[in-house]
């Protein structure tokens, strides 16, 4: 079965941005294709067009030399194009089998036989009759893949599939994908992780600003060459020099901290212990949903705990709320920059006023000191190179990178002793990521400490002095960053143990 998929001169224009600009690409079965690009490069739009979610303004899609119309996801299914999205579309409380049978027109017995065949063929180990909520992320993804396989797909599109997986699960996935490819399924793999492209894919198409900038065989490429094509400029890689903090002053100490939530969707934290020295960056790795959210909120004061369980510069702060903690020179940059760290409907200077505490003097005697807030905001915009100088602009008009710079700037301009940040570069393009990383290294050099909770291992290895892993609400041993490898982290993140 030979499949040829061709997109020809596809254009899609959104108000204010050209998402796809005359994109033409050809794919053939038996190979794995990577679609590589920064956020906003247009790869998601292209994939949405292929899966019928978005209609192109111009251009055509050919399957085996026949022009096909993809007006809805249903059309994509009819043409045997399968798609696994980054976020799973599964009913958590239904069993695996029920989830599979929902959109299948086959009889139950027939379907079960088919699914069992697939499980056997690809060596998937999934119990079909347990609820989906009991599955790991990797298993959930397999359910999504099986859902596609049931329909005998000619094309399988994977959208950033490894963002929720452990290293081991990623390896498993790659083995399966290679097997599918051998069986004649054309695989298009969307990612911005360069290593994955090199280890998995045969051909790579790089997109930048809505255009295809290069198509090449992966054998001819290196990480650096791909990165340069993706970003379009030479990246100077930054690497932090590891310091020794043995004799530095201890700034934060958490001892025997427990958190038990009433909410079944939150993770309980068990017996947390950690300490942080002045000028040090502590990285906390882990797959999302293992208690990072709760840990961040405990550090920021959104969740209040025993006073004595958290000591910051020798003061008990466990019972203080975020505003009171800011008085002690702590600063926080949450993961969710759009609905938590900032409010899109507010103007820039109003968002700056959120980082308010007594000594900021934004509000005097209960009244708004607009002049002071605006002055302060202007300073943040220029010091942290946000690409506007209009403090009256609504924050929703800032791109993700500029919004994050504004947030980090807002938190740092008060020269805090400790910055806690949670996935600070999530969803940003390489330029913004670099800027944020440089900033985080800079504050350590100035003798300020930071805690970096992140799901991006490269980022953690690059920025941290010491690293630990959070798994199911427990912290692993804290290790010196120079002794840690991505592989070690992967094992710990998946619940394994090392030495």
């Amino acid at each position: 079965m030979n499949t040829k998929l061709k997109v020809s001169e596809i254009s899609k224009i959104y108000p204010g941005c050209i998402a796809n600009d005359k994109v033409s690409l050809e794919f053939g079965s038996g190979k794995i294709y990577a679609l590589l690009g920064e956020n906003g490069a247009g790869k998601s739009t292209l994939v949405k067009i292929l899966s019928g979610v978005v209609k192109p303004d111009d251009g055509e899609v050919f399957l085996n030399n026949e022009s096909i119309k993809l007006n809805s996801p249903l059309d994509a299914k009819k043409n045997n194009i399968g798609m696994v999205f980054q976020h799973f579309n599964l009913f958590e409380t239904l069993s695996v089998f029920e989830n599979l049978s929902i959109d299948s027109d086959k009889k139950d017995e027939e379907l079960r036989e088919l699914v069992n065949d697939i499980l056997k063929k690809y060596n998937f180990k999934i119990d079909l009759d347990i609820p989906v909520l009991n599955l790991s992320a990797g298993q959930k993804q397999k359910v999504e893949i099986i859902r596609c396989l049931i329909r005998n797909p000619k094309v399988l599109i994977m959208d950033e599939p490894t963002s929720v997986l452990t290293e081991q699960e990623t390896d498993d996935l790659f083995i399966s994908l290679k097997q599918f490819s051998k069986d004649g399924i054309l695989i298009i793999y969307i990612t911005h992780k360069l290593k994955e492209v090199l280890s998995l894919c045969d051909e790579v198409a790089v997109m930048r600003k809505g255009k295809v900038v290069s198509v090449s065989n992966t054998i001819d490429e290196k990480i650096e060459s791909l990165a340069n094509k993706m970003v379009g400029e030479n990246l100077n890689t930054i690497k932090k020099k590891i310091n020794n903090f043995k004799n530095s002053e201890e700034i934060l100490k958490i001892s025997n901290l427990n958190f038990n939530s009433d909410d079944p969707y939150e993770t309980n934290l068990n017996n947390l212990n950690l300490s942080l020295k002045k000028g040090e960056c502590l990285g906390i790795a882990g797959i999302s949903g293992n208690g990072q959210n709760e840990l961040f909120q405990i550090l920021s004061g959104e969740i209040i705990t025993e006073g004595t369980s958290i000591m910051f510069r020798n003061k008990e702060i466990g019972k203080l709320n975020p505003r009171e903690r800011r008085e002690y020179l702590m600063a926080f940059s949450p993961e969710d920059r759009i609905s938590q760290a900032a409010v899109p409907e507010l103007k820039i200077y109003e968002n700056v006023a959120l980082n308010n505490f007594k000594s900021s003097n934004f509000f005097e005697k209960g009244l708004v000191n607009e002049k002071k807030i605006k002055e302060h905001s202007k300073k943040i915009l220029s010091n942290f190179s946000v690409n506007t100088d209009n403090v009256e602009l609504k924050s929703q008009f800032l791109s993700g990178g500029n919004l994050q710079k504004l947030i980090i700037g807002r938190e740092l301009i008060t020269s805090p002793e400790l910055l806690v940040c949670f996935n600070p570069t999530w969803g940003l393009d390489v330029g913004a990521i670099n800027y944020i990383h440089e900033t985080l290294i800079q504050i350590n050099e100035q003798g300020k400490s930071s805690i970096l909770i992140s799901t991006d291992n490269d980022e953690l290895l690059k920025l941290s002095d010491r690293i630990c892993v959070i798994y199911k609400g427990k912290l692993s041993k804290i290790m010196n960053a120079d002794t840690v490898t991505a592989e070690k982290l992967g094992i710990l993140m998946g619940g394994g143990s090392i030495d």
Partner: protein, 357 residues
């Protein structure tokens, strides 16, 4: 295939113009209703919206009705802006009236400049007290303030009923369900001879100014704004969420209580069963029609007050029930919500595809 999408950016001027559009649509809808009822729509609408305010007395009546509506709506805007859905202003108004009225009866034989201020303050206090029930239940027991505040309206109504029939009824009143007339010193001063417009309007105007100051110039106003847009952000910024819920309920309860006491010491002059023609509920429409903005609420209260007057005129001249006024209020809300929906979302007609037919 119809698809609904959120609009990314909504123009600010259109945001404030849609209420005007809603009013025109209401007039149009009203015209159609009158036409179906067999009236000349233009004539009927004239009776409804022009005749009532074509003389000085009419204008004064308009302000008499707008005074409590505006006051309550201003209070409610504090709650609504911060995501607290207090829809029991009617109950807070009645309870404010009960407390204020009780004090007025207590001072039945007293004269003095101090009597009225004490009555007014006790009315505000009554409103606060009654608004505290849903506020405290919400903050400490996680109850839903919509249900609690709504249900308490009936509690207040029945309590008022009991008082005016039983213990507080006028001893010389032949068992009519009403209290004594309050003494002169317990009445709001009338502004012009022969007109019912009273000093309560100043309370309303001062409240409008103060609330503008609070909402746009103070830390409290900033907290209310942020909490209304994102509770997660409010928590992250370290705002004291519980304290704020209590404060906004206090403000809105005080306003409703003031409106209640303004009614009984103003145009009514005693307590009886119907001290409010649902001002507390109608003020919800006023608050939204005015976009929760103090200036907008002033205009909205005048327009909605006109529907009260128009209904009375229409009852006299067209022999239609005065509940037509509520039909118009309902239409205003309906068209406002409708145009808001189109303002914030766009509807796309994707067209049917052949293979789906």
């Amino acid at each position: 295939m119809i698809k609904v999408e959120k609009r990314n950016d909504v123009s600010r001027s259109i945001y404030f113009l849609t209420p005007v559009l809603a009013i025109f649509l209401t007039l149009f809808g009203g015209g159609i209703i009158f036409f179906i009822l067999g009236f000349n729509p233009i004539e009927a609408l004239k009776f409804f919206f022009v005749t009532p305010i074509s003389d000085l007395y009419g204008l004064s009546e308009l302000l008499v009705k707008a005074t409590p509506l505006c006051l309550i709506a201003i209070g409610l805007s504090f709650c609504f802006k911060s995501n607290n859905w207090n829809i029991g202003a009617e109950g807070q108004l009645i309870f404010g009236g009960i407390v204020g009225g009780g004090v007025a009866l207590l001072f039945y034989n007293h004269d003095g400049f101090y009597v009225l201020p004490i009555i007014i303050l006790s009315g505000a206090f009554g409103g606060i007290l009654f608004a505290m029930i849903p506020a405290i239940l919400k903050t400490y027991f996680n109850t839903n303030e919509i249900l609690v505040s709504l249900m308490l309206v009936y509690v207040a109504k029945l309590l008022l009923d009991y008082l005016v029939v039983g213990p507080w009824s006028n001893p010389e009143g032949f068992n009519f369900p009403e209290t004594r007339q309050f003494s002169e010193s317990a009445r709001m001063p009338i502004l012009f001879d022969g007109l019912r417009i009273h000093a309560g309007i100043f309370i309303t105007l001062i409240t409008v100014f103060l609330s503008w100051l609070i909402l746009y110039k103070t830390y409290l106003g900033f907290q209310i704004k942020v909490s209304g847009l994102s509770l997660k952000t409010a928590k992250y910024a370290g705002f004291k969420g519980k304290t704020m819920i209590i404060i906004v309920f206090m403000i809105s309860g005080a306003c409703a209580g003031l409106a209640g006491v303004g009614e009984i010491t103003g145009p009514i002059g005693q307590l009886h069963r119907n001290i409010s023609p649902d001002y507390g509920f109608t003020a919800i429409i006023v608050a939204f029609l005015g976009r929760l903005n103090p200036i907008g609420i002033i205009f909205a209260s005048l327009i909605v007050a006109l529907t009260y007057l128009g209904a009375e005129t229409a009852q006299i001249f067209l022999q239609v029930p005065k509940y037509t006024g509520q039909v118009f209020q309902g239409m205003i809300l309906f068209f406002l919500l409708g145009s808001d929906y189109l303002l914030f979302f766009k509807i796309k007609f994707l067209g049917l595809k052949k293979n789906e037919l």
